[in-house]
């Protein structure tokens, strides 16, 4: 059904993309004088086959080449090397609601989005009532989409996507943004699709979705296929495979001292329990956040305060060292914040810091979005729902339950 041979995509690093006359000119001069930009293969030498009715999951770290691979197979971008053949009608969903126009009504947008996704107008007309019913926005179907809430827009867009009848579906996890309810509907509909003998190529960070949907899984690393096979073993391999680590730390040692002279942060890093720097973690593992800071001026008792946000920007909690021995002397210190296992949900969490003295209360400076970590679901997680349903919530603590006969 899908046959990919030696596919590769090369980008020139730092090459001017959009038009910038000076950059373009410099590029030409550089070329004339024989200088070359370094190449970067986003995808290299990728070969695989997908049979009809099979669902292949594609996983890998950010920048491993998943999106580039998908874009090539969707024909959005052309490969630099290799070839591929796809037999059958293809729909690629890299986004929901592509082409939605705010000035047009829901009705008009259904036609617009449907034909952009490759449906015929007659086909949209035939399925129109079904689409509108699925979306649940019947009442507003003749209202301009700019008056819709975000949720309504997404529901209508997804309703269109769900009514595509491709033989091959190429789908990106960006689909999975949105509310939990929507994600569930999305995954449910995709399951329907595979059971109807369609072929699916599915890119995701969501290991439980990959495991429950896909018959085979492909792991990409630095643009190459690292492994392909049974999703269970591939996802486990991916999760246990520690990253090279540079993303999981942030060097602030050259940052200036706060304006009031109290101090500054020097270094932030996520570490696992054996002290290795990490950028992602399984939710069943404990991990640490190390904060190196410096107190410069006497007279303050500053300490780091961490504010933890989820990927939707909701604050999960705020945490700081309790009462007790805080350093007051100028000097350099390391604060280690220990996160227990089974606290977070599956998400990317962002940490902002305050550098703050409590009494008298003074925030010396704020470091927004200082560092982030990806928390991944784990097949062995005790807080995992048996049906693979999404577990809702900003956090997902493991709490003791007791059940007794009355």
């Amino acid at each position: 059904m899908i046959k990919v041979e030696g596919l590769g995509k090369r980008y020139k690093l730092g090459a001017p993309t959009a038009f910038d006359p000076r950059a373009g000119l410099m590029e030409n001069i550089r070329r004339l004088t024989g200088g070359k930009r370094p190449d970067f293969w986003a995808v290299r030498d990728v070969s695989f086959e997908v049979e009809q009715g099979e669902a292949l999951g594609v996983i890998g770290r950010n920048g491993a080449g998943k999106s580039t691979l998908l874009k090539m197979l969707s024909r959005i971008t052309v490969p630099t090397a290799g070839r591929f053949t796809i037999n059958g009608r293809v729909s690629s969903l890299l986004e929901v609601g592509t082409g939605f126009h705010p000035e047009l009504s829901g009705r008009e947008n259904v036609f617009l989005n449907g034909t952009i996704l490759g449906m015929r107008r007659a086909e949209v007309r035939r399925k129109f009532d079904e689409i509108v019913e699925f979306s649940g926005v019947e009442r507003f179907i003749d209202t301009a989409v700019k008056h819709y809430s975000n949720g309504q827009k997404v529901r209508l867009a997804f309703a269109v996507a769900a009514h595509l009848e491709p033989e091959v579906l190429i789908i990106d996890e960006v689909l999975a943004v949105g509310d939990v309810e929507f994600q569930r509907k999305c995954l449910g509909k995709m399951k329907d699709v595979t059971t109807h003998g369609r072929t699916i190529l599915f890119v995701s960070h969501n290991m439980s979705a990959i495991n429950s949907l896909c018959g085979r899984c492909l792991l990409l690393d630095e643009g190459r296929i690292e492994a392909i096979g049974d999703p269970g073993s591939i996802t486990t391999r991916y999760l246990s495979h520690n990253s090279s680590g540079l993303v999981g730390e942030k060097d602030l040692s050259s940052s200036p001292v706060s304006p009031d002279g109290a101090g500054r942060f020097l270094h932030l890093r996520w570490t696992n329990t054996s002290g290795k720097v990490i950028d992602h973690v399984q939710l069943t593992q404990a991990f640490n956040l190390e904060v190196d800071f410096e107190i410069v001026e006497r007279g303050y008792k500053p300490q780091p305060v961490a504010l933890v946000y989820n990927s939707s920007g909701e604050i999960a909690f705020m945490t700081f060292p309790g009462e007790g021995d805080h350093p007051t002397q100028p000097g350099r210190y390391r604060a280690t914040l220990h996160f227990p296992a089974n606290l977070f949900n599956e998400d990317t969490y962002y940490v902002s810091f305050w550098f703050c003295t409590w009494l008298p209360h003074k925030v010396h400076f704020v470091l927004e979005n200082a560092i982030s970590i990806q928390v991944l679901d784990d097949l062995e997680s005790p807080t995992r729902a048996p049906s693979h349903a999404t577990v809702m919530g900003i956090v997902r603590p493991k709490l003791p339950w007791d059940i007794h006969p009355l």
């Binding site: 993309t17 038009f19 052309v78 290799g82």
Partner: protein, 274 residues
Amino acid sequence: MRIHVDAARWSALPDLHELFAHRDLFLTLAIRDLKVRYAQTVLGLAWAVVQPLATLVILSLIFGRAVNVSTGDVPYPLFAIAGISVWSYFAFVLKESGGSVIGAQEIVRKIWFPRLIIPLSKAAVGIVDLLVALLMVVVLLAWYGVVPGPQALYAPLYLLAIILIALGLGIWISALTIRFRDLQHVVPFIIQFGLFATPVAYPCSIITESLPKWVQVLYFLNPMAGAVEGWRWSLLGVGDPGGLCWLSLGSGLVIFVTSLLGFRSVERVVADLV
């Protein structure tokens, strides 16, 4: 359906079969633009009348009355509306399709379809305004009691030529704009300059009777020069559609054909550029 993509093989010719397969998208995009265009205007379609009408009044006052350009037996307003009707379309297509691919970058980055659909659909939207303007031509013909002669049979051919010239330039600009965004700012200049370098407000004879040959050749390299002259001749029987006018039509054909090839070569990399 079978899709085969090979990095080593690339056709320089546009895939017309694929283009035809996406005709519904073309139609939807054109309908979208029409609706968006008139969704929030009070006068709606009346704008399609107001714009050429305003141009007609100004040209009639300046060239018809003040300068008193000689247009033979034909009343000046009738002479002018013939040129304005097609020139407005030409200007519209240049303006709209020029930046169209850049304007559609959100879609272009997320889904594949023959990108040529984008400028084509913009040109199709202009057809509505063109029809309104042509209606004004008919009204003025009736008003002045002018009945076109047998040469009117050529009118559809000249109209087609003008549409293809507009498309060719529009497609060229949309392809080049992807790489050189500044070109968007050049379009209004081309339109303004082109209005004077095209026999819209005056007959070609002004050029052919008074300027040296090499200037005339330059003048008629403008594809619209010969096309507009021929179009007006087919309607009103004034002017000379032969001679250097053929140079214009040839230049138009070259522009149209090369635009398809040029667009094709940019289409390949458009998602990496926008």
